[in-house]
Amino acid sequence: MPTKTSILPDHSAPAVDRFHLHKRLTEREGFCGWLFITPALVGFTLFYLLPTIRAFYIGLTNWNLLRAPKFLGLDNYQRLLGDGKFWSSIWVTVLYVLYNIPIQTVLGLLIAVLLKRLTGSVAMRSIMLAPFLVSNVIAAMIWFWMLDPILGFVNFLLQSLGLGTHAFFSDENLALPTIAAINIWRHMGYCALLFYTGLQSIPEHLYEAARIEGASQWKMFSSITLPLLRPTVVFVLVTSVIGSFQIFDTIAVTTQGGPGTATRTIVWYIYQEAFSSMRMGYASAMSTVLFLGLVVVTLVQMRVLRSGESDLG
């Protein structure tokens, strides 16, 4: 250490002292630990920890951002119970998740199995991933054009097949499934890649053994592939369900909650309450309920899918 101090220009004693202090501190593991973590800790505190607490608090108030928030206690939650718009938005969201997730997951699995058995080339995997690299907004925009009732490519296709043209986004019965279809298009390839990664961890000798025993393709899929893929399936389902419940971007670009209330999902409704009606308190109360709802949905999924157990053994 003395050799190091000689590098310093010999100006004044305090400079050397500061150097020693600096040196002593940066040698200490605990000090460095906190130092290395400080920027992230600041970010975490400002943008995750405090906002979560604050969201809960705002939910207990009436606040339009212009005047000081007025404390209401649990009034917002009481109002929420009797708010038909809230319950209808929950219903629309659940319906959306039910349109979105099963098809997306099954198609993802199908593509993953095909990739694994036929060709998992980088080119083919890139093609499958491509829609996921397109933003929600752009995906929505492209489909909005493709499904245009007058000029859209899909309607041309349908018409030439004799199926007539459809106003996909302005038909109350078609709008929500159409939005689900756009997101299935965007996500199925990404799901497939996650499943593909899971498939590669399944030992090949299990299939060989099953083949020797004369097991059919379907039998091998249902008794080897699916059970051993379960951890991946749990991960994909849990994360995609959480994401699906928060559908917003596609709706903002295409239907904006309409026609009528056909696509007014919960996050769209929260956004409307917060930024169109300026009811920060009520919107926060709904977001807190959504949070708790998502925690319950996640726990139920993990329980049902027995996420903690492994079938490999």
């Binding site: 973590i37 943008f47 996921f132 919107a283 949070f291």
Partner: protein, 296 residues
């Protein structure tokens, strides 16, 4: 695969057919967007069913970027709204760099501390970071909007980038896993030789984990480039709005009349080009990064 021996050729062909069908479904809409962007402004009507651009031209791309002389007669045609997309592309680049670069650096320092250094409160803190991955955006956006509003940072790049710039729980978690996966013998030897934690971090941790850092950089760059909700809340003014916000604005502005489809598709194509370039030039790395994003 050795499955071919026991699989009938017909089912194999069927499999290929289905796979190609999915490939077409994946790429088809992107092709239609490109085709429309290249279609001449007078040829849009009546070209809906065609697979190739009619009257192919780069005019739409040029005009949304503002590279066409404002007195150009083609701009005077009805339906061609004024679209200023060049600024949005630039804004997206600025936003992405501001949000991604410091995020990766500070997430790496935090991940190093979580993975290697012992300090009081570490495990509790890490637990809190992990718990934060569960908090939905829908809960955070109101308080975070109010914070940025109170700071006077609405319609600024720092307001848009702030929540991403210091950390994301995913980035910290991901890098900690990567750091833990390598043995620490070399670092301990360096400690004994008198290397400080700083020099170990900069000279060993960062270079050794270059590949993991690149994976994280790809994942965060793609998700930030595509981010809509937060920039939509914070940065709506033309001077800061990113491509997703701009495209949404162009689309909603034109709701009443017949939309300027060729212009809108030119914007979408320009917004997608960087992502396609990423796939074309770094295909294997990108694909593997996303496959890896599901690992816990």
């Amino acid at each position: 695969m050795k499955t071919s021996a026991s699989t009938l050729p017909i089912s194999r062909w069927l499999g290929y057919a289905v796979l190609i069908l999915f490939a077409l479904i994946s790429l088809g809409p992107l092709w239609i967007a490109l085709k429309t962007a290249l279609t001449g402004p007078n040829s849009l009507f009546g070209s809906g069913g065609s697979l190739l651009p009619q009257d192919a031209t780069l005019f739409n791309i040029q005009r949304v970027l503002g590279f066409v002389d404002p007195t150009d007669p083609r701009l005077q045609q009805t339906g061609l709204a004024k679209i200023t997309f060049f600024r949005a592309l630039l804004n997206s680049v600025i936003f992405t760099v501001l949000a991604v670069a410091p995020q990766i650096f500070f997430s790496a320092t935090a991940a190093y501390a979580f993975a290697r250094l012992r300090f009081p409160g570490r495990d509790l803190l890490f637990f809190l970071f992990i718990a934060a991955t569960m908090i939905p955006t829908a809960v955070l956006f109101i308080p975070n909007f109010i914070l940025i509003h109170d700071l006077g940072w609405l319609n600024t790049f720092q307001g848009m980038a702030a929540p991403y710039a210091l950390m994301t729980p995913f980035a910290v978690f991901f890098l900690r896993q990567m750091f833990l996966a390598t043995p620490k013998d070399v670092e301990e030897a360096a400690r004994i030789d008198g290397a400080s934690y700083f020099s170990i971090f900069f000279r060993m941790i960062l270079p050794i984990h270059g590949s993991s850092l690149a994976t994280l950089a790809i994942l965060t760059t793609v998700s930030t480039w595509n981010e809509f909700f937060w920039p939509f809340l914070i940065g709506r003014e033309e001077s800061v709005r990113v491509i997703a916000v701009a495209i949404n604005a162009f689309r909603t502005q034109q709701q009443a009349g017949s939309p300027d489809w060729t212009g809108l598709m030119a914007c979408t194509v320009l917004g997608v080009i960087p992502m396609v370039a990423l796939l074309v030039f770094f295909g294997r790395k990108v694909v593997e990064s996303f496959q890896f994003s599901g690992m816990k």
